[in-house]
Symmetry: C3
Subunit: 436 residues, 3 copies
């Protein structure tokens, strides 16, 4: 079907990628400058002035977040048997472009004398902005071209930066770990895109939409790095050392409790009581999402654990019972189940934040917290729907149904492995093509 | 054999896991509070007062230890061809529960006004306490159910916390890198459990008790992260910056020397001089174990290297010649060979510490060092034997011999891979079950 | 061919490895001592005195570099279908020995009262010195024995330390991220060795000189850890906090821009516009190499991005068009294409440094920058050629052509996997050897 599905990327992808990069470099040339680091920097100074970023103290935290973005998200999505190159490779592409675009889009709202200064906070925030795109990428994984995904990156980060500015600066809502502005936003944006790109031809499943033994293990690399470094994610931009400490402890404990409930429910909902890798890879992380908004609040260690326990239950139940319904009834084919890992736990996080502020765990305004949650979900759905419509434009190289979840559309794939896969699928009927 | 081997976990595992987590949350609600972080924190303050933890300076070290626990131990055990889900997955479960339980059990001995304060040291120590369980897990890998392992976690960490209190607070022995209280303790505890769970049916080996090419590579991820971050493990709770520095340097050099001797002996003991992945994955780490007790002492860089060199030799020789004897003569089936990686090197570390204190490398009492080593090994053996007896209770879901080392007992395993494995084992006799 | 190719390592490898380690320990005993850490250390002191290393602030940066050396280089080279044990395993061996040897060779040029002091800078520099060997290892990957490689390690690090002393101390040239003294040096040293070890028998390729699906994924683990932590590599030994910050920002942005150009050119040069894993695994890193020399200079964020953009283009084009020519016309069989990842981008980095100094981005001497680049490339080529001649000595265990790129020569390889590979290659003609 060459007219509908022109998946050959030879001209359109290189031209788009290079053009975007050159445009970005020009914008950096005009707007972006270095920051000045105080020679007497150090942790003790950060209490004197919150505006002076402490580079060397936050650099290890930035690197933890960096690992989450590039290894964590990248390998988490390698679970598909024939789509691992795309998962880790396109993740890298989108994140590398997204962090540049995010630095510009977020910086536009905080210019000093017409310039955007690069410092450790802007680097952390740039990585954060890519997280929204990578969450949405999970919803459409296997069904989109690199060109479509680059367009989604530009639009989503631009809209994300506006919503974040609204939530943080205008509403002045608390969302230190970004349950609302990143996780709920990224999930509902991606689900809206997936709805627009609905493929009836995939409604009965696809033979490549599943894992093999070692692809599940690669995915666990992603899961565990995300799980371990989530305390860094939730505490990175906390305002004081005390709040940074609180965010680390709350996230650490929420995630630990979440593991127990995710494992328990995974076993409970399967006929023979067996554990399901989909749940283990994803639902164990829901505690990090759900504790995000109130991570820096004095909710008590047991409070953080209760949030994690709840998130693990909700997320696992969602994977088991809700994802099939989304696909069959709502026309939302959510490849990675981002609704269960980021959507519902993100909303749970927003609600927990509302309750925590209402109970006085941190000074704040309950109405503004509610508005922040509504804004994040609402703007995401509208923005995702519009973005999805644009992504449907026919010349953007979307793969046909039968080639979904298959690296071979956009990647050179080693021959041996194709044969090997075939061998696995067709048993002794296979013929060796390389050596006939 | 449904009566003896009721491996269906559907009720017993979820009920146990959720009950334990709720109990833990209640105990956290009663006993655990946040700590206060001094706004003027920083390295320079830690010399004024040892009781004031320096959160931001130790947080990267904590994360290194975290990586060792979750990636290091988890992937090191993925070497088995069909048991990688369990290795990395149950490692995560036991560690996530263990760190919560460890924080309680260790905190009980150091309460302030009836409360346990969470700080960076208690987080590091909680991770440490899980290490004992993960070492013991290696001895019984492939032969135990998740329910049995959760019970082992509770008992082992409780006993570990008592022995650690005895060694550190009562005997006041030095053991900064925990050669004795973690490595020797975890190994001999696990070996005692393995002795209690002896399976005559496995005395001639098991077809799944081996690796495939890529499972060995996954295991190397674990090995290398353990190897790299071991200096953080051995220095994390050192008392002063100078001792922290010394522990890093000694561990770094011991491990480097250990690699050379492990590789050399691996080649020497194989008929054709070939390297054996079992040795490379494990014996290269023995230098980190063996230098643990005296890591913060002025043993000289060459002293650390001599310890590492010796540990690499002992460990490789143990894997080659001792493990088969343990299995055939002593009835101890040590799946991962923890006696060679943690047991003997742990005792070597204890002895090195005794000699170092005797030679004045650190002020201390030789008798107390001897008592600490004896206590750690003795309490481990007794505690492990009792724990093993409890784990033998028939309703705990232990797998039958023929299903050992097989994820499929407790996990949903992708069909293609099962077929693939079958294809590999039975050649062209295989039939494709999924597409008959 | 037992006379020419005595690949049995049983005596020669263990004797060499143990002898080298014992020699090294003796030299450490004579020359190496601990450093003293100021109790009032901390970031604020590093501005008072550059000579006083700040251990705890640089330790996380050291660990990032450590991850690049052991995980980054090790897994990057696992892409070969049957040579992954050697890639990650011999990488570990060479790096573990190399860091000890490097500490001695570099320390000889900076002795205090006849002693070499171990501090955080000497640990970082020791890791750096191993990087040269690991780059050269990439050029000869699959075609050399462990004994040959240990000899290369000794010679290359010795020569590297001389050139580095010449460039940094005598010429006083700037090369903070070591584009010249590590990357160009390591690449041209390795290419000269590869030229000396030219194998006409491999001129038509080798069936094992390629990847399978999952070996390419293991390689991506290496790629992404290298990519993420490269800012630490380029900033680790910067002189002031401001220059450290600048080096981080420039490297981060150069790498981000490089990803876009590497992906674009990879798609552009393939017939059907598909992405090629070889380019993605390697060329995305060229931006880190090329920005090395001027990483700490005020070249502007856009300047760093332009360097990265250019490096990604040059590197990808080199992999596509230059590597085949090197092999067919020059007799240089560069297994990993280190000329494209380290050679040309290293020279680009040297040239960028010359231009930046000429434009006043940092005070310095253009002539000395030119001399540093010439010295690094020239000494590497001569040193590599001599080293290659020594490595050709017949008793060093070099594998015959047909056994190149095959772990089974020097490693015990799991039987199932061999059969599996055979199964993949010969289809249903295979016989099961294990169960006849």
């Amino acid at each position: 079907m060459p007219s509908l599905y022109s998946t050959n990327m030879r001209l359109k992808f290189p031209v788009l990628a290079i053009s975007l990069e050159i445009l970005t470099i020009i914008l950096f040339g005009v707007f972006v400058t270095y920051d000045k680091i105080d020679a007497h920097h150090g942790p003790q100074n950060s209490s004197h002035s919150n505006e002076e970023p402490d580079f060397s103290a936050l650099y290890p935290v930035f690197q933890d977040v960096h690992v989450m973005i590039f290894i964590g998200f990248g390998f988490l999505m390698t679970f598909l048997k024939r789509y691992s190159f795309s998962s880790v490779g396109l993740n890298m592409l989108l994140a590398a472009f997204g962090l540049q675009w995010g630095m510009l889009m977020q910086g536009l709202w905080h210019m000093h004398h017409g310039k955007i200064q690069v410092n450790i906070y802007s680097m952390i925030n740039a990585d954060f902005s890519t997280a929204t795109v990578l969450i949405s990428f999970g919803a459409v994984l296997g069904k989109t071209s690199p060109v479509q995904l680059l367009i989604m990156t530009i639009l989503e980060i631009t809209i994300f930066a506006m919503n974040e500015h609204l939530v943080v600066e205008i509403l002045q809502a608390s969302d230190v770990g970004a349950s609302m502005v990143i996780h709920a936003f990224g999930a509902y944006f991606g689900l809206a895109v997936a709805r627009m790109l609905y493929r009836p031809g995939l409604s009965n499943g696809h033979e490549n939409d599943g894992s093999v033994y070692h692809s599940d293990l690669f995915a666990m690399i992603g899961t565990i790095f995300l799980w371990m470094f989530w305390p860094s994610f939730n505490s990175a931009i906390a305002e004081s050392p005390q709040e940074q400490y609180t965010a680390v402890v709350n996230t650490y404990l929420s995630l630990a409790a979440c593991v127990l409930s995710a494992y328990a429910i995974s076993s409970l909902v399967e006929k023979k009581g067996k554990l399901d890798m989909v749940h283990i890879q994803n639902a164990t992380l829901a505690g990090g999402v759900a504790v995000g908004t109130c991570a820096d609040m004095a909710i008590g260690p047991y409070g953080a654990m209760l949030i994690g326990l709840t998130a693990g239950i909700i997320s696992t139940v969602g994977f088991k019972f809700l994802t099939p319904v989304f696909s069959s009834k709502l026309g939302i084919q959510d490849t990675c189940g981002v609704h269960n890992l980021h959507g519902m736990p993100g909303i749970l996080g927003g609600i927990a934040g509302i309750i925590a502020v209402a109970l006085g765990a941190k000074s704040g305004n309950v109405v503004m917290q509610v508005a922040a949650l509504a804004s994040s979900v609402g703007i995401a759905i509208v923005g995702g729907a519009v973005t999805g419509l644009i992504m449907k434009l026919p010349f953007l190289g979307q793969p046909p149904d039968q080639n979904c979840f298959d690296d071979a559309v956009y990647w050179e794939v080693p021959e041996e492995e194709e044969e090997h896969e075939e061998n696995m699928t067709h048993g002794d009927h296979s013929k060796n093509k390389a050596e006939p």
